[in-house]
């Protein structure tokens, strides 16, 4: 379903993604693990047409997202690291805009919105503004929205960041259910090793832009002779702390917090 070959992305002299190749089969859940700044988000951005690769090839459901951009876009849904909902609109309105953007026919839109909001336990609050939602509810809504146009692939970039264990648990239950029911291929990134171990069929560990290991969680643990995935991860990527440079988004996030309740 996803085929990536020799993918490279450079920003000036910095190589963010360095010769990465992997494949994800239909209906599989594939987890990308890596320290901060390892190149996970950059890879996802290239897969989802937001960034152009410097070199290498990508295939999504047999399509090249560079050439058949809109066709490829119809086939995937994405949940970003930062929320991308409109807080001034209600849950139902956010779903409606998404449906229109993806050319989902009116009737299907209505029917599927109801089905998904019920599944993600948001139906009762569909007419409330999203800015009144908790972090977990926003995440659930984003994932529900990502499914609205029945994508074949779902990208999840750190979907459980900042959620409490209850919400995380519930989220993965939902994702696994949809993965099984609709045979959706899932590619996710996360910092929580236990989640990857539990949810993912296969795992890729990326560090300094290079894919240093891939396989089932069992295989990765066995190869490194460790008990837990976390130990294997630390063995592969070392224990130095990676400090990312603060990007404008981080500064903006702080600014937004000061003004919370304002625009979002």
């Amino acid at each position: 379903m996803i085929v990536v070959r020799n993918l490279v992305k450079t920003f000036g002299s910095f190589t963010a993604v360095n010769d990465v190749s992997f494949e994800v089969d239909k209906g599989e859940i594939f987890a990308f693990l890596g320290p901060n700044g390892a190149g996970k988000t950059t890879t996802i951005k290239m897969l989802t047409t937001l960034l152009r690769p410097t070199s290498g090839s990508i295939e999504l459901d047999g399509l090249d997202p560079q050439v058949q951009q809109n066709e490829a876009r119809k086939r995937f849904g994405i949940v970003f690291q930062d929320p991308s909902l409109d807080g001034d609109l209600t849950a139902a309105e956010n779903m409606e805009i998404h449906g229109v953007l993806y050319h989902v026919p009116h009737k299907t839109r209505k029917h599927r919105t109801e089905e998904l909001l019920k599944l993600f336990e948001l139906w009762d609050r569909r007419d409330e503004q999203v800015k009144k939602f908790s972090g977990g509810m926003k995440r659930r809504l984003e994932i529900a929205r990502g499914f609205l146009h029945t994508p074949k692939i779902l990208f999840l970039d750190e979907p459980t960041l900042g959620l409490d264990p209850q919400s995380r648990n519930q989220l993965w239950t939902h994702i696994k259910k949809v993965n099984e029911d609709e045979r959706v291929t899932v590619l996710l990134t996360t910092h929580y090793m236990d989640e990857a171990d539990r949810v993912a069929h296969r795992i890729g560990i990326i560090d300094h832009g290079k894919l240093v290991a891939q396989g089932t969680p069992r295989a990765i643990k066995d190869q490194n002779g460790t008990e837990s995935l976390e130990d294997a991860f630390l063995k592969l990527t070392g224990s130095t702390i990676r400090d990312e440079n603060a990007d404008p988004a981080a500064a903006m996030r702080q600014f937004a917090k000061m003004w919370s309740g304002g625009r979002r």
Partner: protein
């Protein structure tokens, strides 16, 4: 079409739902209108230029349309860093449709804002020479709104942080306002200032409104119209181009 419509509708819904913001954004024009209008009135009168409130009202209307429309474009900055923009950029629709929807939405909001300020002006004692000319003034408002929403879009597409926003505010939006002749007549100015006011597109918008509302102005109304349409079209093209180049 439905994509443009839904994004236009989104801007409108956001506007009508932020009541506090509507009230706040009326504060500034109100200050200009009442404090300047009544404060400068006696001096203006003595200089033989007539009633200052009458004179400044179209300027204040133009100001509110300018601010509101530029800010709608700069709102991209918010949407870009952590908001809704990414959701629209990965959707299977062309960037042009997204840009048009947003720009028209921002312009519509700016026109509504302008109409609210017009209403306040009328309440404060502003009297156009003919009420029949109001629809033409509305036409000028629309032109100002589209022009500056496109400008905001062009700038907002490249903006990365709040510092940039401050810079644009102080070195672009405020000069556009102060040089537009919103607050003073454009005739008999020192040469340098006179040239500066002539390259400011807002001058022509406010001049056009003055022409239809008060019956006298600095330029020919046809010149006003042509400048606004031409500059507006150019900015729309630039805005669309820059929007299509956004990478996140």
């Amino acid at each position: 079409m439905s994509v443009i419509y839904i994004l236009w509708l989104r801007e409108l819904k956001r506007y009508t739902r932020s009541r506090a913001q509507i009230v706040a954004s009326l504060g500034q024009p109100l200050l200009y209108l009442l404090v300047l209008g009544f404060g400068m009135g006696p001096v203006f009168q003595r200089a033989g230029n007539g009633n200052y409130l009458q004179f400044v009202a179209p300027g204040v209307i133009g100001m509110s349309v300018l601010f509101s429309s530029v800010f709608s474009g700069l709102g991209l900055l918010w949407d870009r860093q952590f908001g809704f923009l990414k959701e629209t950029l990965v959707a299977p629709v062309s960037r042009l449709q997204i840009m048009i929807g947003r720009t028209l939405g921002g312009a519509t909001v700016a026109v509504i804002q302008g109409l609210l300020v017009t209403l306040i002006c009328l309440l404060a004692g502003f009297r156009p020479v003919h009420f029949l000319t109001m629809p033409i003034a509305l036409g000028f408002m629309v032109l100002i709104a589209v022009l500056f929403a496109a400008l905001g879009m062009a700038i907002g597409s490249g903006l990365q942080d709040m510092q940039g926003f401050q810079l644009i505010m102080n070195f672009l939006v405020l000069p556009i306002y102060f040089l537009s002749g919103a607050l003073f007549p454009l005739t008999g100015l020192p040469i340098a200032l006179s040239y500066a006011t002539r390259v400011d597109p807002l001058s022509y918008g406010i001049d056009g409104m003055r022409n239809v509302l008060l019956g006298h102005a600095a330029f020919d109304p046809r010149v006003d119209l042509i400048v606004l349409v031409v500059v507006g079209s150019i900015l729309l093209v630039i805005g669309a181009h820059r929007f299509s180049k956004i990478e996140i």
